[in-house]
Structures are given as C-alpha cells and as structure tokens.
Symmetry: C2
Subunit: 391 residues, 2 copies
Amino acid sequence: MPDKIFPAGPIARRADGIPPFHVMELLSRAHELAAQGRDIIHMEVGEPDFPVAAPVLAAAQAFLGAGRVEYTPAAGLPALREGIAAHYAARFGVTVDPARILVTAGASGALLLALAGLTEFGDRWLLPDPGYPCNRQFVQAFGGEVDSLNVRAEEAFQPTAASVAGAWQARTRGLMVASPANPTGTLIARETLAGILAEVRARNGACVVDEIYQGLTYGRAPETALSLGDDMFVINSFSKYFGLTGWRLGWLVAPAPYVRALEKLAQHYTICASTVAQHAALAAFSPEALAIFEARREAFSQRRTCLLAGLRELGFGVPAEPEGAFYVYADVSRHAPDSAAFAHRLLEETGVAATPGVDFGAREPQRWLRFAYTTDVARIEEALARMKKLL
Amino acid sequence: MPDKIFPAGPIARRADGIPPFHVMELLSRAHELAAQGRDIIHMEVGEPDFPVAAPVLAAAQAFLGAGRVEYTPAAGLPALREGIAAHYAARFGVTVDPARILVTAGASGALLLALAGLTEFGDRWLLPDPGYPCNRQFVQAFGGEVDSLNVRAEEAFQPTAASVAGAWQARTRGLMVASPANPTGTLIARETLAGILAEVRARNGACVVDEIYQGLTYGRAPETALSLGDDMFVINSFSKYFGLTGWRLGWLVAPAPYVRALEKLAQHYTICASTVAQHAALAAFSPEALAIFEARREAFSQRRTCLLAGLRELGFGVPAEPEGAFYVYADVSRHAPDSAAFAHRLLEETGVAATPGVDFGAREPQRWLRFAYTTDVARIEEALARMKKLL
Ligand SMILES: Cc1ncc(COP(=O)(O)O)c(C=O)c1O
Ligand SMILES: Cc1ncc(COP(=O)(O)O)c(C=O)c1O
C-alpha cells in the first residue's frame, strides 16, 4: 500500500487481516432504530444483565474507601489466588496450588498470556469451528497459525479424540477447547476430554481449556478439566458466572513448570490486573455471593427452557443441546438461506438482535444464529412472539 | 529440555529467556527485614505514594453506586476519549481527534497494542539503553528483535537524530523513546525529537513515544510529541501524573490510518479496559482534580530538589539533569564497583531500597542506581542521613 496511506510503515499482518465483527454493524443499526423510538430486544449480547452482586459491590466500596489503589504483584493478590484455589477445592473437590494461579485482566488476559507462553513462530493450533472468535487472534498474535477443527452438531459441536488425532500435524502445538462453549452453549463430556488429552499428551502438546462459563450449567453439575490432571492450561474469568464483565478480571491455571515464565511475561506485559477488581473479587466466593450467583443461574435456566422450546417451536433447528453458558445456537436454514441477512431482517422487522454465525467461524456460518438469553423471560417471550409473526 | 519437565511442550522463547527483575529479590529481602522490625525506606518503587484524588474517588463511587459495570466499546467510553482530546487541547494547545485515541489497560496495554500493530516477525526496533525494561518484551512478544541505542549522559540519556540514523538497519521497523524517561527522569528536547522524527519518516518507520510521565516535569512546561505531527504512536497513562496505577488505565494516540486495525486488535485481545477505571478517570480532568495533581507535582518537585542535592553531596554522580518523572539515576562508581551489590549493602546496612541499573539495560549497568522520590521529604532526608553514615 502507498506510503501516503501508512505514514509510519505498514500495519502488521496480524492486525490488517481481521474481519470486523458482523454483530457490530447490527448493533449500530440497533442503536439507530432505538433512537427512532423502536423497542429493541437485545439477544446478541454475551454479557449477563444482572447488577453487581451486593457483597462484591460492598467489598469494592470498602476497598475504595481506604483510598489506596496500588499495583499488586503480577500474579495477583495472594489472598485472591488462595480464594480461587479454595473455590476449586470446595466446589469441585480439586486441589490446585495457589502458586499455579495467575490473576489476569479477564479470560482475555489469560488467553493472551497462555498463547504468548506457548506459541513459537510457525506453530499451529487446533481450534474448533464454530468457536470464540478471539482465539484465532491470540494464536496469530504470536506468529501461530490456526487449523480449524470441523466439529459436528451430533458431537455437541466439540472436538473428539479422533478429530484431534486426525488433524494433528508436525508443527501442531496444541488445542484450544471451551466448555461450556461460545457460541453453542455445549459442554464437552468428561470422557471425551480425557480421550483428547491422551492424544495431546502422546504428542507432547498443550491443551488450553477455556472454562469461562464454568458454573453456568443447567441440569448438570459444573466441572473442571483440572480434575483430569495438572498439565493443562485452564482459563477462567469473573465475567460470566460472577457477573463482573466490565471489571476485567480472570485467571489462568498453568502447569507448575510454566508458572514462573508466565509470571514474568505478565510482569512485563501488564504489571498487574485491576487492583479494584481484585479486591472486589475477594468477596465473590463468600456464601452470600455464591447464593446470589446460584439464584441467577436458576434464572438463566428458566430463560433457557423458554427460549429453547420457543425457537424449536418456530422451526429453528437446535441439534446440540445447549447445557451451559447463556447461548442457543440455532439453525435458521428452514427460514432463510443466509443467517446474516436474516439477522438484519429480524432486527429491522421485529427489533430482535441476534449474532450471525459468520462471527464464529467459516464452516456453514450462514446456517446459524446465536441467541443469548441475557434478557429476562418476559422479553424472551416477546421476542419469540414477534418472530412468530414474522415467520 | 526433557519432556518430563515440560509436560505440555516447550515454553516459547519469548517467555523463557526473560531475566527476573533484580529489584524483586531486593524487595523480598526488604520485606524480610521489615518483618524483623527494621525501618525500610522505599525508594525503589515506581509508583506515586498519594491516595486516590477525591474527585476521582467520588466519580468511581458514584458509578459503582449505580450498580452496573458492563463492557465498554473496545476503544473506550466515547466521553473519556473526548475528555482526553479536550485535555490535549486545553493543556498543550494540540488538536487530537478523539477517534485517534484508544483507551487501554495502562500504558502497558497501549505499548502492547502498538507493538502488535506494527511488528512483523523479524522486524527490528531501536530501544534506548537504559530504558523501561518491559519495552524489550513487547517487541519480542510479536517476533521483533531489539537493537539497543547507546544513549549518553551528556545527551540526557536520550537518542539523537545521528544515533538513530546510525543504528537504522534494513529491517528496522522503528524507534521507541520515552520523555520523561524511566529510569533517568530526563526529557528529550523538542528539536532533538523533531530531528529524530525526520530520520524515522525518511525511512518510513514508526516512532513510539511514551509520555506516561507527562505532567511530571519540574521547571519545564509539560509537552507532547503530538505537537510535532500526527504520524507518531503516543503512549500515555493515568498511572503516574493522575496517580491511578492499580486501576490499569492508559491510552494510545495512533495515526488515523492505523486506528481501525488497532481497534480490532483491542476488541479481540482485551474486549475493553476496566469500566470502573474509565468512569473514575472521567473526573481526572476536572479543575479540582487537576489542582490536586499540580499540588502533588509541586511536592514531587521539592522532593527532587532535596534528593538531587543530597545525592550529589554524598558523591553520587548525576550527570544528566533529571527534569521529570520521579527518578534520579545516580552513578555510584565513586563508592562501589557494582551497583547491584551496593544496593544490597544499602538495604542491609541502612534500610534504604533502590533499584540497580541492571534492571534497565546492559550498558554499564553496574554504575547506576535508580532512586525514586515516591516518598516524602522527611523520609528522603532520613535516607540521605543514613547513607551519609554508611559512606
Ligand atoms: C469463550 C470465551 N472466552 C473468553 C472470553 C473473554 O471474556 P473476559 O475477558 O471478559 O473474561 C469470552 C467472552 O465472551 C468468551 O465467550
Ligand atoms: C516508561 C514507562 N512506560 C510504561 C509503564 C507502564 O505503566 P502503566 O501500565 O501502569 O501505565 C511504566 C511503569 O512504570 C513506565 O515507567
């Protein structure tokens, strides 16, 4: 490109090639419509709609009241790392050494750190398609290449030992997986993950397991991959179950031999995660806070039942049971050939916003639309009623 | 290394080779001594010692009181971007389009973003030695290589047009510079920076100017490189002048043609910066807040005068006048052959903690010790008195 356009030299390839999120366009159109007085039902948002839980808010306010907000150690406040470890013990019966826990700016920070610590230029990573779109960018950030794993609805949109083994190449560094997953809300079965791990271990590879939606499961007890061993890189966050999105706080559990190097990376890349958020999160594991989160999970569960039944009744296909997170990934092909165009039509004609599959992968994205049940049952019913009229 | 030690494959080179900060060792020894009842004077800390300014605290508390802490746009709250632009206009007389401002998790986040957007595998960056140690890691994160610029005390420890031109190679992508600088507290003269920019522009390279200590200058009006053009990548932060370290908030001003790509990177890498911090920072440009920051600058100025005179009186060399930040970079060679050993001796025998040069570069680091005046005049005088006894 001509120098005139880039006065300080070219943009790096990792930044230049990123397609915009389609949903952003939809969102700005939604804002326009709202400004015109239209009532928009937001089902595109990957963010819980609850206020900050009172005990967490109180902890933040008490901390701020003391008036000092200093850098913390790069790995996080010792008390928070211990609190997270205690949570693993209490809820999952899994022992995790607090020394293996690195506190980060959201799961985003944990993913960045893990990929930075594991990716050599030219390394390849296996990523399920559909999947969380940012994972591709974390890999490419550090000179890695992405190989998409074509997961199947009949296998809960999750990889299998066979698919991983089949896709592994000489330069494959590892696999990224999420459970519950975005955009599908599906879980990976314990045996399936164990089988995958065996394949990854046999190849001396790395398994990054994103458990950001941990705790948000319906009809199934929450699980952690950490019960299968201590050689995975487990990603987590206070954003979803704990409802602390805008606070930017998460964590990474790393295998012990990697911790020191990752901690040094964190020191240099970030100094530390938000001190205010860390002090607030200290209260997130209290019985009072957990009771609130469990009540919210129950609310999500009811929304899920309502949305899932409603979408199926309208003729949307939901072939893989979404048992977690707050998403339903619906097949719209009975109603429209292209989910992106359909999403725009939905928005214009019914005021319902949902995210088209094109934002999550390249495998038949035009068939899929992600509905988030981050709005209450009354609004979900209203959305379903409007869609019924349209179809 | 044997597989047994790294069960999930090797650590990436960018993480494996990072030397630990020497000051960390000193710090843990300082904590030990403090636990034994010793009075430690902390002059190693690169963090202002003031509480959160009242208007900023009030803004944070008011925002939290509303109970909703959601993700913001990746580039930051529009009101904050506008506030930053208005600050450039009011204080520096420089017009910056808010659209060019990307809000980040501290200057750290801004540096990461800029280097990610500019560095191709194998690109080379020129970094002054001594300098901020993390810069090297930001370059290496993205496959870049560092060439150290040997800056001279007689030239304020800053690069010159000649040194940049002389060090530029075929694969040099750009230059990183800081003013005021860490660890030296020195500024780059406007003409010098203009001369450097001419060299960089002639080579279609990128200039990253770290202005994190902007506002903390003594006897000199604060400046911005943005007055020299709109083709630089300017780094800034709420950490130092605004005293908001643990909040993790900063910003990047990018040349217009790069903004969209950098914004997409930020979307994927971080989602957004702390929402709580962004709302707090909205109050940082109010006249009341600025009055507090100016009063603190005055306090820093008095500390600087006291420390600088005291160190010189003790026979430490301070060849380049530190006119900004809160650091004095002192030559200890009259007293000791190795500043790292000397730092340990200082700590053990006087309880004064300072950071050895080895943490900031490879050029004669054993001559230098960084004293931070992030403690009050009485403590600085006490530190000087104890050192006088020792020497
Ligand atoms: C699967 C998955 N991983 C990671 C993230 C990052 O979230 P955060 O950085 O807020 O923890 C998200 C956010 O939606 C997600 O869906
Ligand atoms: C020169 C310089 N740049 C950047 C940073 C990063 O600071 P923050 O991320 O808190 O803004 C520091 C911190 O000490 C610094 O000294």
